[in-house]
Symmetry: C2
């Protein structure tokens, strides 16, 4: 069992503060500090390729590098030259090759394509739009299925986490509904659900929830979400910050802004969850000290 089971927390003070029956499913203690390890490990262990290439300056790159290390595979992560040095070091620390690209000159996808052309035997992994990503995240849905929640709330960026949770819950026979929590500043998923097709943001959104700065939902995820998602709560930035503070105060968890989206959704639309047994997924804890400081001081 290389993927760690999620940690379920029942902080009474948080339930009182929200006026809701809420359980936290924390992925901050997952390997590499976020749920992304579930997808990365499933992908790296499922593909036969000895070399995996991805573009990610965030949790997926770190998770994939670590997964490949555990599996004895080569890993290349394309990151912008502007990436935090500590993130570059973390990826390199897991033995992956980091390809830095000046994204004002060369788009990341172009650099990935060049690298893939140099090694046609490599597998090019998307951080959020790959069936292996959904299948990996489904492990969280299966874990939550046994708990009898009425609704699971989880952050939406590219949609891989919510799609995975839906698939996992259904595989396990649970009827638990799944609600997405999306930054209002990056509400392409909410607009996509309303439109009935994938709507993209016009540019990378400026939300503090950097895990949700994707331009659009992944197409594999969309196939699950378009009918599987019970709805989306659009979360203003201030509510994300309050969510970070509430989780710190009541659980001691240090979450990244994206990791507070689900709790923030409960703050924004409590009526929607009144009387329900709610599970809020705290998706990760990788946050720069400077960012965290500004939120909790």
């Amino acid at each position: 069992m290389t993927v760690l089971a999620t940690t379920l927390l029942r902080p009474a003070g948080l339930a009182r503060a929200l006026g809701l029956d809420v359980v936290i499913a924390s992925e901050t203690g997952q390997h590499t500090g976020s749920f992304k390890f579930r997808a990365a490990y499933n992908l790296a262990s499922s593909v036969p390729n000895a070399h995996v290439i991805t573009a990610s300056s965030g949790n997926f790159g770190q998770a994939l590098a670590y997964a490949c290390k555990l599996l004895g595979k080569r890993c290349t992560v394309v990151m912008p030259t502007t990436s935090a040095k500590v993130k570059i070091a973390a990826v390199r620390g897991h033995g992956a090759t980091v390809e830095l690209v000046d994204t004002t000159v060369v788009p990341r996808a172009v650099r990935v394509a060049e690298l893939a052309a140099q090694d046609p035997a490599a597998y090019v992994a998307s951080a959020y739009d790959d069936p292996y990503v959904i299948a990996g995240n489904a492990s969280l849905g299966r874990e939550l299925a046994a708990e009898g929640f009425d609704v699971v709330v989880a952050p939406v960026g590219g949609g891989g986490l919510t799609a995975g949770i839906i698939v996992g819950l259904r595989e396990a026979g649970a009827s638990t509904s799944v609600v997405g929590a999306e930054p209002l500043l990056a509400n392409d998923a909410a607009r996509s659900l309303a439109a009935g097709y994938v709507v993209a943001n016009e540019q990378e959104p400026g939300t503090m929830a950097d895990g949700a700065r994707t331009v659009s939902l992944g197409k594999h995820n969309w196939e699950v979400l378009k009918t599987g998602l019970a709805g989306i709560v659009e979360v203003p930035e201030e509510a994300i910050a309050r969510g970070v503070r509430l989780l710190r105060e009541h659980t001691g968890l240090r979450v990244e802004p994206t990791g507070a989206l689900a709790i923030a959704a409960l703050l924004v639309d409590p009526d929607r969850f009144a009387g329900a047994r709610v599970c809020a997924v705290a998706s990760g804890g990788n946050v720069d000290d400077e960012v965290y400081d500004a939120l909790v001081r």
Copy 2:
């Protein structure tokens, strides 16, 4: 308030598992992920010097670098060339200068002395043996004083944390006793208390609790601990690992091995704490994925 208040957690499952009335004081959510920020910020804000030099490959270096950044001071951290690259990047990420030293050729203290000679106006900070360190950590003791604990259990390495907690509790008028939790493999503090003078380890101890690999107690700390400490529990490595797992299971906290020493002490000597209102300090959460994986898988 730049130093964050500790987070007090009352996990019912953990209390049941231990058979004790236990509260966790978690410093994993402190700035830079450990209690060391308390000492570092107090030191950097108290000394008039515009440049602070220290030798640390661990939490203190990171904390001091961040404190100096917040205060607009220069910071130089001497680290062994063998330090994890992610730790070097974290210190550099806070704007500090990292001086790498091959400790097989030049001892760290020698490199620190050379740097201090080059800038006589700089303050040379010890990670654990400095009155400012004790005074900084005393803030945790003052926070805990109000809670009415019978006993606070905290890890002992150089002794700065326990000395600070004792000073803070006494300042606030609390009679709470303080027990140290020390790795059996690095039991110089236990031997010092027994001998009545500071006994040093013959070499850097091989415990997994890297925050407790100090060769001996700091002399400032010893002055507090020799009469202020109610005792020390010597903790085998396996109990540290169990402590890490218990904290993950019952609180979702991802602690470094040193951060699990206090809970491990409760496992090792439960009779000592029976019937008491116990506070166990989880001192920090900075742990390599590889190390954590091996402990919790």
